[in-house]
Amino acid sequence: MRTPVDLAAARPGPAFTVTLDGREIEAFPGQTVAAALWAAGVTSWRTTRVEGRPRGIFCGIGVCFDCLVTVNDRPNQRACLVPARPGDAIRTQDGTGHDD
């Protein structure tokens, strides 16, 4: 099956490892955290403050703040903006993201 990587003839550098809640995930240089999570089949990585509902990417351009995630103990990072870096500890977050 054709993929966006094929379409754009992308040849990123070698994959590296990040973790999502301790689980190892493969990411490529240039991928955002959101892209790496999507590639790993993960579409939600936080739950909401009031109802505890799952959320992931919505606007994809940093406007809606739905894709908030904790990266290396920094809560409320927008997964659609933040690039994945080797060794990143990505954590799903609940509520305010501040360990309520």
């Binding site: 993929t3 379409l7 754009a8 992308a10 490529f28 892209a35 992931g56 351009i61 809606c64």
Partner: protein
């Protein structure tokens, strides 16, 4: 003062790039401030450099225009006339004694400040997508049409193998064809507008043969990818637990209401949905610029009513990349003339002005065609979340209006918290206004993005180094 005048251009999309290149070519020193890692904005969003895409043009159209812009920018950067600040998220532009200070946060973490001083500024802050709510729209896998495109263009990422593209507006076509070209099965393109309405607007269309050709090319691509197109249809609900599994779509009647009995269910793992675009006007509003409808009001020179402030592109009203290029070019020429102490000569940009005026007319004609279904609010049940950040339901909004005396967006917000969350009502504003039956009033967001209090506590404090600049 031997130093050349200094222009700050905010936004490196088509409008900002055109303004930068035009002003720099006329001898003005330009700092181009942009939140992304690469120039291009949303329209020409580039794959991250580290992805090493050898064929990025496969994700784009009008690639040659982009190449010209990109090369012109590179030339001006090379010559030292333009400084391009990437990963700079502007949160406030301050005007003091006729000079400007752009306050930005260094991305992507946006924790550390950066400041740019300038004699004038061009606001080319672009737009973002409007999405009206329906049951299930908060499920993971439901993304904005522009969001699906941004993830595809910038990160070469898709959220699953089967998508439905829905809503209304010219953006849906490139999103559907883009996803299809990238290997996603587009199960349906669901457009609430009626193509027959285009035919009734032949005059504006006839003046834009390029746009007609563009539409025809998209139609051919949809056919090639076997994308089923449902016009005068709308999504009534997204289904799933934990993530989207299917959507129910239905036909609309002539009045814009769902036709009972026409509902059908389409399995999918992605729903890319959008109902048009909205301008980013926060920086302009805080500067005190007058708005004209949702966009920043500008004159023929692209000047706002605040001296020293120009605006171009989607921030003045939605009209696409070609219009943004024309407006940006005019803004850059006009700003350069003023900064060089000359009276701007409109003849110098007559071609751009002609293109701008024609495109504005075209998009003004398109606007009513792509209006969301008149009765969209009927799909919003009382338990549908409308404000995604604060999880405020349609029922709570209706109650604030019916029982508590809310009469405008601000009071609805105060009484329900709709619009008080992280996105500050950018997403839910149009929906709340529609449900409450009140106008879409300006957002009055003094900060264009969240600012750490530690940064705010020191923002704009005079530093010794400033005196030297």
């Amino acid at each position: 003062m031997t130093e050349r005048p200094h222009l700050a251009v905010i936004g490196a999309g088509p409008a900002g790039l055109a303004a930068t290149v035009a002003a720099a070519a006329r001898g003005v020193r330009v700092t181009l401030i942009d939140s992304a890692a690469e120039a291009g904005g949303q329209f020409y969003r580039q794959p991250a450099a580290a992805l090493r895409a050898r064929r990025p043009q496969a994700l784009h159209h009008q690639w040659r225009t982009w190449e010209r812009l990109r090369d012109a920018l590179a030339g001006q950067v090379e010559s030292g006339r333009v400084m391009h600040l990437t990963d700079h998220h502007a949160w406030l532009v301050e005007r003091q004694s006729g000079r400007f200070t752009v306050h930005a946060l260094l991305g992507p973490e946006q924790e550390e400040p950066a400041v740019v001083h300038a004699d004038a500024t061009v606001l080319a802050t672009g737009g973002y997508e409007k999405v009206l709510p329906f049951p299930g729209w908060t499920l993971p896998g439901v993304v904005t049409a522009g969001g699906a495109q941004a993830m595809l263009k910038g990160a070469l990422a898709v959220s699953g193998p089967t998508a439905v593209v829905a809503g209304t507006g010219p953006l849906l076509l490139p999103v559907a064809t883009g996803l299809a070209a990238a290997g996603v099965k587009v199960a349906a393109l669901v457009e609430s507008a009626d193509p027959r309405d285009f035919v009734r607007r032949t005059r504006a269309l006839a003046a834009q043969p390029g746009k007609v050709g563009e539409g025809a090319r998209y139609a051919a691509r949809l056919l090639r990818h076997r994308v089923r197109t449902l016009v005068r249809h709308t999504v009534v609900e997204a289904h799933g637990t934990g993530r989207i599994e299917a959507v129910t779509v239905a036909a609309l009647d002539g009045a814009g209401r769902v036709r009972p009995g026409t509902e059908r269910r389409i399995p999918c793992d992605t729903l890319a949905v959008g109902h048009g675009m909205l301008p980013h006007t926060d920086l302009a509003e805080t500067l005190g610029c007058r708005l004209d409808g949702p966009g920043v009001d500008v004159d023929g020179d692209q000047r706002t009513d605040v001296p020293g402030v120009w605006a171009a592109g989607e921030t003045t009203g939605i009209g696409g990349a070609a219009l943004a290029l024309a407006e940006g070019h005019i803004a850059g020429c006009s700003a350069a003339a003023r900064l060089n102490g000359a009276a701007p000569d409109p003849h110098a940009w007559a071609a751009a002005a002609k293109s701008r005026n024609g495109l504005r007319e075209f998009f003004a004609a398109l606007d009513p065609v792509y209006a969301p279904p008149a009765h969209w609010a009927e799909q919003v049940t009382d338990d549908t979340v409308v404000c995604r950040c604060e999880e405020v339901t349609g029922g709570a909004i209706r109650e604030a209006v019916a029982d508590l005396g809310a009469g405008d967006l601000r009071t609805v917000k105060l009484l329900t918290r709709a619009g008080m969350g992280w996105c500050q009502g950018r997403v839910c504003g149009p929906a709340v206004a529609g449900l409450a039956g009140c106008g879409e009033t300006p957002g009055r967001r003094p900060f264009a993005r969240p600012v750490p209090l530690g940064v705010l506590a020191r923002a704009g404090e005079p530093k010794p180094s400033d005196a030297a600049q």
